[in-house]
Point group: C3
Chain length 312, copies 3
Amino acid sequence: MVKHVVRSQMFTPELLSALFKRADVFREVVDKGQKLDLLTVLAGLGMIYMFWEPSTRTRLSYVRAAHLLGMSVEGSENAGEFSSTIKGETLEDTIKVISSYVPDVIVMRHKQDGAAERAAQVSRVPIINAGDGRGQHPTQALLDVYTIQRELGQLGGLVVVIGGDLKRGRTVRSLAYLLGKYPGNHIIFLSPPQLRVGDDIKEYLAEKGTTFEESGDVEGSLRRSHVVYWTRVQTERKVDGEEPVPQNIAEQFIISAKQMSWMPKWSVLMHPLPRVNEIKVEVDADSRAAYFRQAENGLYVRMALLEWVTKS
Amino acid sequence: MVKHVVRSQMFTPELLSALFKRADVFREVVDKGQKLDLLTVLAGLGMIYMFWEPSTRTRLSYVRAAHLLGMSVEGSENAGEFSSTIKGETLEDTIKVISSYVPDVIVMRHKQDGAAERAAQVSRVPIINAGDGRGQHPTQALLDVYTIQRELGQLGGLVVVIGGDLKRGRTVRSLAYLLGKYPGNHIIFLSPPQLRVGDDIKEYLAEKGTTFEESGDVEGSLRRSHVVYWTRVQTERKVDGEEPVPQNIAEQFIISAKQMSWMPKWSVLMHPLPRVNEIKVEVDADSRAAYFRQAENGLYVRMALLEWVTKS
Amino acid sequence: MVKHVVRSQMFTPELLSALFKRADVFREVVDKGQKLDLLTVLAGLGMIYMFWEPSTRTRLSYVRAAHLLGMSVEGSENAGEFSSTIKGETLEDTIKVISSYVPDVIVMRHKQDGAAERAAQVSRVPIINAGDGRGQHPTQALLDVYTIQRELGQLGGLVVVIGGDLKRGRTVRSLAYLLGKYPGNHIIFLSPPQLRVGDDIKEYLAEKGTTFEESGDVEGSLRRSHVVYWTRVQTERKVDGEEPVPQNIAEQFIISAKQMSWMPKWSVLMHPLPRVNEIKVEVDADSRAAYFRQAENGLYVRMALLEWVTKS
């Protein structure tokens, strides 16, 4: 059976644990300077990436992961502008043609919700969803959870503050889904009132028995946290006819040394990157600032995922 | 001597037969799951692609073919926008520089008729023409003929309906040239009166002794066909000051289940893809619909071609 | 210690000599048709390129160099348009993330002066500067000097005419720096009065004891030359509020057969390419026209450089 990675709901704690173990192994080999040994892991296999929405960072992470394992890679980083899409070809047709080039996995990113699911229905080879619309971004969630595991040593019993723009971020959505799979987590959704998290996530968490609260109190939330997962609150942009967030509220959602002083010693600050000014550069030197380690973790987790989907 | 692939006229039936045999071999190795064995075929060799006109599909097919055979690949998928072309460099200079990077083959696509021929005159390494202007697209013709061979088991004695927009398609032009090399073929050029095939092709076929007719009767043509090669008739676009095709005529050039019922059991429906609505999705399930198999055939034929131009 | 290649000042004559020897070795292997042997030189290592300013030619030369040595390569050829840069990410953050993907070298090109220096300060892996702003282009200078060495057999005691637009070209700047490292060179800066070389370069040469003069006399300069390094004088463009160069002056800065007749037999004509009309095509056949050989030299010098930065 072809293994697709379309939604973060598919990851069981057992599967996550197995993937994280392989990620650790790959990291160790790299750290020892033995990259040459990795080239045989997936030698002869090939990845094609199709990004209808550009994302240099995510794309490079996948391509690098594939290359480290010895795969060949080709693809389009701006499929929406260059490819047959302009001529009116359907997503289904494109995927059928691409999968006829006998790749061993297709990694795709798309602007439309549910695009990866549609692709999976017609593809002969595994589809990995690297983000579709406002929907899912399961591999980002995977590396986020892997980072929590590595930084704190456990995935349950945590107070996780998810802060910033909770209305739009697909990152936030996929992460909340995964956290709901572990017992004892409590999520604090910390946002301006204009940018609250969607009802579907709250319903999902209620169903899973994961407690959560919504808050606008930055200091109170940070003081109770094990994990602070931060995203950007924008003031300049008015989306979908909503009211923009007032400047004075938005400023509360910036992390500087002062906000770090509210966080416990054992806690960790994460961010999906890129960041603009929502975390000040002065914070980078704090050992609890985990966002660059988080980016690196993405590489190893993607290596594990590529191996999992292509090997039985 | 350097082997260039610039025009479809260069392919003799003997060469085509040899290439198709190699394509079959490559397919078999892939189907058996032994891709790893292919990596040594062209290991150490390199391909550079230069696409002055973007074409994700064609480009990916070539890069995938090269990677499967163990070649390294680099290139530009939008050479017209990014490269020295903007600064006013001639095609000849660009090709001289690119060929000084010691690739073993250059695959190029260009907007201007005859660009590949000009490139071949200054290149130290083989040039493969992946389409130039309204001129030639010899590798598309190659995979079309390979598909007919695989689907019907013979390349002569066929009634081939080439339907749709015959005025512009370089695909149609190159295919007609190749069909003229086999005895007993009869071509029906089926198009609206506004989009008839050019005189140069008709003169070439007359010279080769290949019979042909021009028709506007879809049902009558399809009922007599062994091969139906379909392309899109556009109504919205007025090109070169021509009259646009009226809506009621254009609608006759759409293939649905009804049109398929006119085609004989043993016939085959082909299309260079992408398709928009000129072949309805309902047709895909019909075993005579060969267009996705045709795309896959392109991969294997390109592998055979890369081997042929780079090995003596 | 991580070896960065940021400014041409870093190259000592000893280092240049060592690099040129390796470049010669790589060329010899390629010329013998033994590319396969090169694949093991840097097998298992990886290069990431980040071009905030597109340059198909330079990028292809680097990627080809890396591939020939067995490296894997990925990157972005239009990082300014596609990547997180648009979202407001700093260069430093981008480099930190990219270097966390454990490449063995990052090759970058940027629009801003000093960008490569900034990148080197935060990168865990070697940075190679493939051009930043109006500042430096050290690898172009490297291949220019390598070309002089190969064409004339020595790097000191030469009269080098650097002609054309000396105000903007970063190529010119980096080359002058390197020439100042060898004894006995005399540089003639030949340009229209509007496009004279910057004071910083003149001060540097004075400090190094390299004699130079500024001239507007094309014939007189060419008659005394060992090396003529040519760049384009544009008339149509008015930059930074300067006066454009008058047509009759600009025409004096075009090399045709007549200008070649002024150059000594043993001299050599170089150009960083692309050229437009500042060197006529009729000149290409002259054995002293070295610009296409110069482009090829770039490949081998980059191979040597990649090996040097990634191996201890």
